[in-house]
Amino acid sequence: MAKIKGAIVVNTERCKGCQLCIIACPKNVIALAQKKVNAHGYPYVEASLPDECIGCASCAIVCPDGCITVYKKKVE
């Protein structure tokens, strides 16, 4: 069976660091970027363990600001 790998892209300028996606992620892929903030001054999230992502899009669904784009790829 082909495995599915995922990847997320975070719109860091729109992210306000509410951390709902961190709770939603079943694989604990997402974490707050350490000591980095966006133009508004908010800490934003990033994929800290990108290899673990399964592309389930839970983070994108829960994000109140629609900051997360999820890509899925079949791995043979």
Partner: protein, 352 residues
Amino acid sequence: MKGNEAIAHAAIRCGADGYFGYPITPQSEVIETLAELKPWETTGMVVLQAESEVASINMIYGGAGAGKKVLTSSSSPGVALMQEGIAYMAGAELPGVFVNVQRGGPGLGTIQPSQSVYFQATRGGGNGDYYVITLAPNSVQEMADFVDLAFELAFKYRNPAMILSDGVIGQMMEKVVLPPFKPRRTEEEILKECPWATTGRTKDRKPNIITSLELTSEVMEQRNLHLQEKYQQIRDNEVRFETMNLNEEDDYMIVAFGSAARIAEKAMELAKEEGMKVGLFRPITLWPFPEKEIAAAAKGKKGVLVVEINAGQMVEDVRLSVNGAVPVAHFGRLGGIVPEPDEIVKALKEKF
């Protein structure tokens, strides 16, 4: 939409003539949304980013002096800078609306939500014996609704009005029904409704003068007494509050405003599941404060818990209202941390 975006939409829809502001997190979306909506092309509303908060408040002073519906928005440190202008407006009896999306302090503090400005908002904030009508929304819907209400009250009493929101409500996404479109007032309507405004003198009347300065003590005292009389009128007529599940036979009452009231609502549900008898009282106007109503509601309770996102500010007003009849305790988190509902339930058990 976000609470901040709701403010921008509501301002255009209620027929505001101008917005003058300076971006500051967590309310930058207000001016961002206005810039995106371009109301100067549709309603003719002016939107301007001033060089600082001090400049924007003085633009409001000027706009209000001409009888226009003008508003600004800022966050705690920015509103602190605006206090001089707000005191001038209260002294000169001018209407204007300020949106304060609070963040933590003191000083620059944090950009995360807090209710750190309660004292400043409800005690006037600047110099002199004056008050600012203060409305505390607890949802994105109320952010939208209170813009028109604040203008209405500001013009009715010729007094500055403040919408005291915080970073939670400003950044929160919720469904909202926007108010209907109202056209901006025409020059004739302004002349009719605001005979005090400096709209250009005609031959048949004396010039209108707008100032907060008066060097003759006797005249100044009369002006102060007139202001105090007006504030008493506001206290008599404009107290707004809301109660949730508050019954006479309850053992405890939680008092909270703004976003803290939303969290307290959940805490109240949790406490009820555990068999505690709790009700919630939410002041909507923080000045005028619902003193009599709180005193009446607190009667016979074992304890009143004031939940705030600060070190204890509204708790003083609640203590003054209750006047020693019932024990009053405070629970709050600081530094931009928002309290959790179960922490509130725990505090309720521990404090009484």
